[in-house]
Symmetry: C2
């Protein structure tokens, strides 16, 4: 970017099913100020837009904002700025979000899928914009992703590109929410990690996992599994090893196919850190072509909390 552009200020909005986060971001990705409000399953677009506008206008730097970007959890028509649908916001259906915001907020408004926005954030924050090709994988309830190709956000033919969670790990595996079978999300999504633990604990009653979950197998979370593994709990350690190996198998295929310089892991489950990263790297070394594997950095984002808003803010850059 040119010197003058580095003085610009952007507004980024991460519009999720349970929360809407807003941040004013400088051109270096620093958050100058931020705010958030609750969203709910039955929220009405017009009301959420009104809240976004109110919160934005209350920002100290509002008058300096040169462009606004919104990452939405859903299927987005980026060109038209329309939310086609959002599984967790059923009343958002063909919502012309860009038009609704254009009346109220200054500058160019860009709308994209939240996983794409996060990938764009990872590109600027974790990779400092210094690689050409990057994959960002969001590990949470679902497994999402975004692709940076030749320094640009790649959306594919219908804006769906990056659905890494729905690459098959085992085509004869269990049915996935998407209708297919054995997708990687079906193995390493947060709920599936927890239910694996629950299953394994049926035959072993003493585990740090149960202590941490207050004895309630339904209260097990990836966070608890990470803490238990750090206390050397065998079941928890094995769950992370297996999850890392499974992701590593899929990543080996992605590396052979897409040959990226970097894979960035983000999202709640990625907080397991080395527990999941080490087996991923080991499996990639064992399975991917040597050269592309050797240059592909696999890292956990240092900016998980910021990726969504900063990436959204930078959509118009």
């Amino acid at each position: 970017m040119k010197g003058a552009d580095m003085a610009k200020i952007y507004l980024g909005i991460d519009l999720g099913g349970t929360e809407v986060k807003l941040a004013v971001v400088d051109a270096y990705g620093n958050i100058l100020e931020h705010a958030s409000f609750q969203n709910s399953f039955n929220s009405v677009p017009e009301e959420v837009v009104a809240e976004i506008v109110r919160f934005s206008r209350n920002m100290k730097h509002f008058s300096e904002v040169s462009a606004t970007g919104v990452g939405v959890a859903g299927d987005i028509d980026q060109q038209k700025g329309v939310v086609r649908f959002s599984p967790n916001l059923p009343r958002w259906k063909n919502t012309p979000l860009k038009k609704l915001l254009e009346r109220e907020l200054p500058g160019i408004i860009s709308i994209d899928n939240d996983a794409n926005a996060a990938a764009w954030g990872a590109y600027w924050l974790d990779a400092k914009g210094k690689v050409r090709n990057l994959i960002c994988v969001t590990l949470g309830t679902g497994v999402g992703g975004g692709i940076i190709c030749d320094g640009k956000l790649y959306r594919g033919a219908t804006g769906t590109a990056g659905e890494i969670g729905h690459i098959p790990l085992n085509p004869d595996g269990p049915r996935c929410n998407c209708g297919s079978f054995g997708c990687i999300e079906r193995y390493v999504g947060a709920a599936h990690l927890s239910s694996q633990a629950k299953e394994l604990l049926k035959t072993r009653k003493h585990s740090k996992i149960l202590t941490l979950s207050g004895g309630d197998p339904d209260a097990i979370t990836p966070y608890i599994l990470a803490r238990a593994a750090e206390s050397n709990d065998t079941i928890a350690i094995n769950i992370w090893k297996t999850a890392g190996r499974q992701l590593g198998i899929v990543f080996a295929g992605i590396i052979n196919f897409f040959n990226p310089e970097m894979i960035v892991l983000a999202g709640g489950v990625s907080k397991a850190g080395k527990l999941i990263l080490d087996p991923i790297k080991e499996t990639v070394r064992e399975r991917a072509f040597e050269k592309p594997a050797s240059i592909c950095k696999i890292v956990i984002s240092k900016y998980t909390q910021k990726l969504g808003v900063v990436g959204a803010a930078f959509l118009s850059r």
Copy 2:
């Protein structure tokens, strides 16, 4: 392209392990003249280059050629125009092919991997340059591929991108030549199709496959398997169904991840036509996300024989 460019003429060279093909190609992809000579496992780069130069100079249109492209079966440094290595041409090691040719041939010389050249050919011939994102899959002894991203040949960080054959189908499957396990190539590569037939014929002695192979199970080829299936041989039909289903599973993952407008199948095995195409399409419909699957055309190249030379010729376009 501009009008003036449409009058340009290109030289394309497909440098394979057993044969070198040359063609003079116009800007519409028509082959104006062509030639070929044998190559061998132990060929010496300087001698092959001398032959390429001799054959090129003998071309009637040689003086009109504005640029030359070479697709080489091997690992290529496209920027430097160096053949790093070629599994089927062991004496080609860090061969500065571009430099060697620059002394002898006019215009810009571009060197790339043969699967990339074929993908570029498929982009211009099968897709007429009218899509943005395309995958070309070469089905032969191995399973190769190339990626067109945003209308450009995508090579990835180290020029390895497009190794579709080494996406895992079954991570616990048999060992692949690449060192990994259960890669799709290990299931649908020509030799593996033939050996599946051989295996299945152990328990059934009467089959059109054996008639066509002169009773010799070692003489079974994908060509024979296609002819046998067309004569309603159950074993052959099932082999194609299974291969199509296996490719469809991998393609579903590619469609979810990369969201291309088109997947073009090329290479000898693709001549099985509908036998393999129908189960691919059916499996993709069952397994990929609906929207990206519905817009992704999956076709068999109408130009398999030409893709390599025309794609190479167009590398410098």
